[in-house]
Symmetry: C2
Subunit: 408 residues, 2 copies
């Protein structure tokens, strides 16, 4: 009989957001008269920008006309979008990328989940802790993380981020081959300054490691000293792959478009010991297992870089950040220890003494009908913390703060 | 230094269609005055159906309005599309599928490339030969195929399909765990009748193997006795995964939508020897490394199943099949031995005696300015054959036939 990939069986049973959804649903079934306010999942709620919708509709119309119909697009994205990203996201910040270093995809989750296919089966992985689960699960499925015991993978290097170290991860204390960093951070909402990020680039260069840098929340950065791209750090083009997305920047969670940068200078070691460009491997991977992003979606994404597109997405991001501020300030006024929310749409708070993160989830659901996400779901160092998101409406966000205040 | 996945280095150097494109480009550069007719790549050329375009435009407009905006969709597809497929593709043929057995994706290439993640690292693979390269390359990248020597993978079981056996593959002559079948076949354009497919299902059931059945060209079937789905064969729901696509059915090569069926009854063996549903593993894989298909694209795909959508796509398929007939009959009249083209948009022909498939490619390009695809590019048993596609216009297709006739 066909044997399955046994690594799947090592994964812990229930997916975090499946469990929070299950508890929420059970509560609502028992209390149908109470209105639940959701500050849990990191999904946007405001409509696409008019410039984006207009571009997508125009491109859909093109697909219905013989002269303008498009079949398979270029494997790695249309030049109009690749160049808009090179210009709007990188050249505008003094970063020059080659045309074939930018790969368009249908989502950052897909790319950060698949990038590990380029690494050897025994590559040693490090992640910040707490962490977005995809980096961990995708490597666990490939058998790189050992076994899951007592809430930890035996072969994974955890870099704890807690109030005690100001949410600045320590450098790895052992040899690792790959470091996943996500900044602005999901789930903590915290950031690294250029000075705090630089040691990671230096460490990677010194140790021959590769950094996978997830910058999905870069558009939420408000402070000057915070890098929007890891390539703002000297040397990063020789050691870092960067994954970005239109999901949070332009509300594309249901529209699906993203990009990944794999600079030519980033290399690994081949079987014969010679250096190999990861760019060439990623091209082969994408050409073999992917077939491009929908043309109307690529047109929609390119419209983000028009003047009106930029103004419109800025307005939406500002609205979310107004919510973030309301949550941050509201919780602080209530005596919570609060982090993030300045350069990210996530607020990370310490649960009250003696209440673990799942108990706090249940408490908020039952007493306030507010749904958040327990920190323990993001990794061992997430215990004792809780995540709230800024993606609901301002009115609901304010009401949630009032309900929490009434909790006392 | 990070070690790369060394299996990438075992892949043969140049991708088939990259090489045909390179030679075509070189020829055109040398002869800019001559018009090349492309019957090479399997990409559609006719516009999307009006019903499809209209649905996509309406859905794009919804995304721009607060009340109808949609963020992340359901992980495995919207119910309106899943149910349209269950009804239109399966129930209409007497096949009942559970709601959670159908998974919407952005392309069959992605699914047939990724399905191997569910199999153990040492699973034994069989493919028909010649074959669509993704089944082979995706397993080679995962290290299952051994080494590539003299044009063959040392650990891959080839099932040759040639004129001698009527393009009906033999059953595996050794134990294998997975058999990839593509019918109607790419590249040969040939099909299996129900009676010819049944022994594969029986073999898989008897040997505990799984069939990955790629039915991307099912909409081109014209003959009654040819199964549109492997689930028309008794027992297939216990051993077969089926991948289908809107690419060729409805011209979605640049729009991107597909589906994969993983019945609950299809099982593999876990580390402890107990059977495990591949359905559960695929759910976990897709929830971890994929984030759904663009909402407007899913609405576009669902419009294929409206009465007008069905009539419109039928008209397009009929036009392509008129080309297929013209190629088939034209070549036969010229004395070629011709296969396929009756239930598929591909025509497979024997190259003239003494001319191998790459030499025939060069000959057609240079003497007729017609581009096809050399059979050897699809596997060792493709040598001596050549593929032409029915996706150009009728006028260009007829002109290509005239040019070939003049070749004599």
């Amino acid at each position: 009989m066909l044997k399955i990939n046994e690594n799947f069986q090592k994964l812990p049973g229930s997916y975090l957001f499946a469990e929070t959804a299950r508890r929420t649903k059970a509560y609502q079934a028992a209390h149908p008269e109470r209105e639940v306010i959701r500050l849990g999942i990191g999904d946007v709620t405001r409509p696409l920008a008019p410039a984006v919708v207009s571009a997508m509709r125009a491109a859909a119309a093109e697909m219905g006309v013989q002269e303008t119909f498009r079949g398979y697009g270029p494997d790695f994205g249309y030049d109009f979008l690749v160049n808009a990203i090179r210009e709007g996201e990188y050249a505008a910040r003094g970063i020059q990328l080659d045309y074939d270093e930018v790969f368009i995809s249908d989502g950052s989750k897909c790319d950060v989940g698949s990038i590990q296919e380029l690494f050897s089966a025994d590559a040693r992985i490090a992640v910040t802790d707490p962490v977005y689960p995809v980096y961990v699960d995708s490597n666990a499925m490939a058998g790189r993380l050992g076994d899951f015991r007592d809430g930890r993978w035996t072969r994974l290097c955890y870099l704890p981020c807690t109030e005690e170290n100001g949410f600045v991860p320590p450098l790895p204390d052992r040899e690792v081959d790959v470091i996943y960093l996500c900044y602005p951070n999901n789930p903590t909402g915290t950031v690294l300054t250029r000075a705090q990020l630089k040691p990671f680039v230096d460490w990677a260069l010194a140790h021959g490691a590769v950094i996978v840098y997830d910058a999905a929340y870069r558009a939420y950065i408000t402070e000057e000293d915070i890098p929007r791209s890891i390539y703002e750090i000297e040397g990063a083009k020789a050691c870092a792959i960067e994954c970005c997305s239109f999901s949070k920047t332009a509300g594309f969670t249901g529209t699906r478009c993203a990009w990944t940068v794999v600079p030519h200078e980033v290399r690994g070691q081949g079987a014969d010991g010679a250096p190999v460009e990861l760019n060439a491997l990623w091209k082969r991977r994408m050409a073999t297992k992917f077939n491009g992003v929908s043309y109307p979606v690529q047109r929609a994404a390119a419209a983000v870089y028009t003047a009106e597109g930029q103004a419109q997405i800025r307005e939406t991001i500002d609205a979310y950040m107004r919510n973030a501020r309301a949550i941050r300030e509201g919780l602080a006024a209530q005596g919570y220890r609060v982090f993030g929310g300045v350069n990210a749409p996530y607020i990370w708070l310490r649960t009250p003494a003696g209440i673990d993160s799942w108990a706090f989830f249940d408490l908020l659901l039952e007493k306030c009908q507010v749904v958040g996400t327990p920190g323990a779901g993001f990794g061992p160092s997430g215990e004792g913390y809780f995540r709230l998101t800024a993606f609901n409406t301002y009115e609901k966000t304010m009401e949630a703060m009032e309900r929490l205040a009434a909790l006392g």
